[in-house]
């Protein structure tokens, strides 16, 4: 078996190629099929459709997919459970709830202090609220998942699933209290939707996700040790609490940014890490960057599929429905398969 840097280089090349292919495919398909060659040589309206609509939308899907798959790998290591994932663990729900609270606060402030305060509901404060909500939920799930000082992965997952349902319920109620355009935004959050964002929002989201994933890549060798359990990791020289705090924060930041951009898109962090792990093995130095790149490609394709699937009906389902359609059965299959081995060993 060749060394880690060589395997990493091959993996990165394959991942980047997959993202490029997915974006090209996603650019070509839709309600108005276009020719990529024509679009790139400047023919209208192909050029405008590609550059103004399809590419930004694919970029959004790529950013969100990379964030969710990278966060999934990290949470699986910390929770010592291959079923952990931002959506299943409730971290996505916490992010959506955090963002909702900011929107509600902005609405209330606008009523009290005049329309200027509604700026609070702009992208940056809402994203900050989402990151805060995600971090708080990750800590809550981890805290409640510990029984007698020991992490019980199944309990943590259960807490996360329940919290997600709770968050969705609270958001549904809070939706009644905000102006109609904000209420529509919250509905999209609950469903998980890739839409059209401004270049500035995309750039800010991309930078935030890249920074969070950068932290996880830098800590990827330590993630390997974390999978062994607290005391073993400590006996191999790891400062477990500090490492875990960094991982939780980075995974929550990535999830928060993804939710602020696209809402609760589930199961990306479950499907993609599992498939990448099958090919490259459990070494997180390969797994984190590999999952991020293939997560990007995956969600770009899932979004293209969402656009294509109901084309004859003139409508499209939210991408969250597509990932849930794929991810739900996948989760059950993994659960059945792992209950004999890694579930009990975790």
């Amino acid at each position: 078996m060749s060394s880690v840097p060589v395997r990493l280089a091959v993996l990165l090349a394959a991942g980047l190629a997959a993202v490029a292919l997915a974006v090209a495919l996603s650019g070509a398909v839709g309600a108005q099929p276009i020719s990529l060659g024509a679009a790139l040589s400047g023919a209208e309206p192909d050029r405008t459709i590609l550059l103004r609509l399809r590419i930004p939308r694919a970029a959004l899907a790529a950013i969100v997919g990379a964030a969710l798959a990278g966060a999934g790998v990290a949470l699986q290591a910390v929770m010592r459970n291959p079923l952990a994932e931002p959506f299943v663990l409730g971290v996505s729900g916490g992010a959506a709830l955090g963002g909702t609270v900011v929107i509600l606060a902005a609405t209330t402030a606008a009523r009290a202090f005049g329309p200027g305060a509604a700026a609070l509901a702009s992208a940056t404060p809402v994203a900050a609220g989402a990151v805060a909500g995600a971090t708080a939920t990750a800590l809550l799930v981890f805290g409640l998942g510990r029984v007698g000082g020991r992490l019980v992965p199944e309990t943590a997952l259960l807490v996360g699933v329940v919290f997600n349902a709770f968050a969705a319920g609270v958001i549904t109620v809070l939706r009644l209290l905000v102006p109609p355009e904000q209420a529509a935004r919250l509905l999209y959050w609950l469903l998980g939707t890739i839409g059209y964002e401004s270049g500035g929002t995309l750039a800010a989201g991309g930078v935030a996700v890249a920074a969070a994933l950068g932290v996880l890549v830098a800590g990827s060798a330590r993630l390997n040790l974390l999978t062994l359990g607290d005391e073993e990791a400590a006996s191999l020289g790891l400062d477990v609490r500090r490492t875990r705090a960094w991982v939780f924060f980075a995974a929550s930041a990535a999830t928060g940014a993804a939710v602020a951009l696209a809402g609760m898109v589930g199961f990306v962090g479950l499907i993609v890490p599992h498939l990448v792990r099958r090919v490259v093995g459990p070494d997180h130095r390969l797994l984190v960057p590999g999952a991020a790149l293939f997560g990007a490609a995956f969600l770009v394709l899932a979004d293209a599929l969402a656009r294509l699937a109901f084309l004859p009906l003139g409508t499209e389902p939210p991408v969250g429905a597509v990932t849930a359609f794929l991810g739900g059965p996948f989760f059950l299959w993994l659960l059945r398969r792992s209950s004999g081995t890694s579930g009990s060993a975790a």
């Binding site: 060798a221 400590a234 400062d239 459990p282």
Partner: protein
């Protein structure tokens, strides 16, 4: 300045536990325990379940801090020194190594190099050499690229022993290294530990099998209800009366006709 006190003769003291007390909540696990172990020595920690053996190992490894008393590990205060510094001098083979991810044998043993590696843990030729040496010492070279979940219990235990050797520690802590192993693997693990001690390591092992301990260890320390009740050479420590008192089982005490080591066997009437 007063002159430094003279160094004690003989090999260096690597583990020095003095007057240590520890409790889990309200339940006292250790009360006023003192013991030491030197480089090149294989020390067995014996005692009934709940005597505090594993707790003592956790304190020596710095995984918990004593409520009272002091622990020194190769000159460090293990509970307060950096984890990395402790991991460079002390390796721990856990009681039930559990691994949820399908790493290969070589990957797991390479993790023993973590305390000496940089952020991305890219192995140097030194790291590769240490891992290869540890694999060969534990008769694992032919299994190096197998996945851990494809190995037998005995092979897996050897992997974690190899990881501890790859760590190149000065102190090797073993928590029930022979639990759940067949006879051949029990003997193999005890011999590997004895060989490590001959090579200059300070080896401290929690053991349940009195006869294996008597055959392999240089010195035994017996714990009971959180206190040290006996310490010394196996033949002095494992008397019939002491075993009966500490374990509350009547025993027959004899001698291994081949090795001369003490042998202790329960002597109970199965009808009553």
């Amino acid at each position: 300045m007063s002159p430094a006190p003279p160094r004690p003769p003989g090999p260096e003291t690597m583990v020095d536990v003095r007057g240590v007390a520890f409790a889990y909540g309200a339940r006292a696990a250790l009360e006023d325990v003192s013991f030491s172990a030197r480089a090149g020595e294989f020390v067995g920690l014996l005692g009934p379940n709940g005597a505090g053996k594993s707790t003592l190992v956790r304190l020596v490894a710095g995984l918990a801090a004593p409520a009272r008393g002091s622990v020194r590990l190769a000159g460090l205060d293990p509970a307060h020194a950096s984890r990395r510094a402790v991991a460079r001098v002390c390796a721990l083979v856990p009681q039930e190594p559990r691994i949820a991810w399908p790493f290969t044998v070589r990957e797991v043993v390479m993790m023993g190099r973590a305390p000496r590696q940089g952020l991305l843990a890219l192995p140097t030729p030194f790291d590769r050499g240490a891992v290869q040496g540890a694999l060969e010492a534990c008769d694992l070279a032919h299994l190096a690229d197998r996945r851990l979940d494809a190995l037998s219990g005995g092979e897996r235990r050897r992997v974690f022993f190899a990881r501890a050797l790859a760590q190149e520690p000065r102190v090797l802590l073993l928590d029930e290294p022979t639990a759940f192993l067949d006879l051949a693997h029990q003997v193999m693990v005890m011999r590997m530990a004895a060989v490590a001690a001959r090579g200059g390591l300070c080896v401290v092992a929690v053991l349940h099998d009195l006869n294996l301990a008597a055959a392999a260890c240089d010195r035994l320390v017996v714990l009971s209800r959180g206190r040290v009740v006996a310490e010394g050479a196996p033949s002095d420590v494992l008397t019939a009366q002491r075993v009966r008192e500490v374990w509350d089982v009547p025993v027959w005490r004899g001698e291994n006709g081949v090795t001369g080591a003490p042998v202790v066997l329960p002597a109970f009437d199965r009808e009553r």
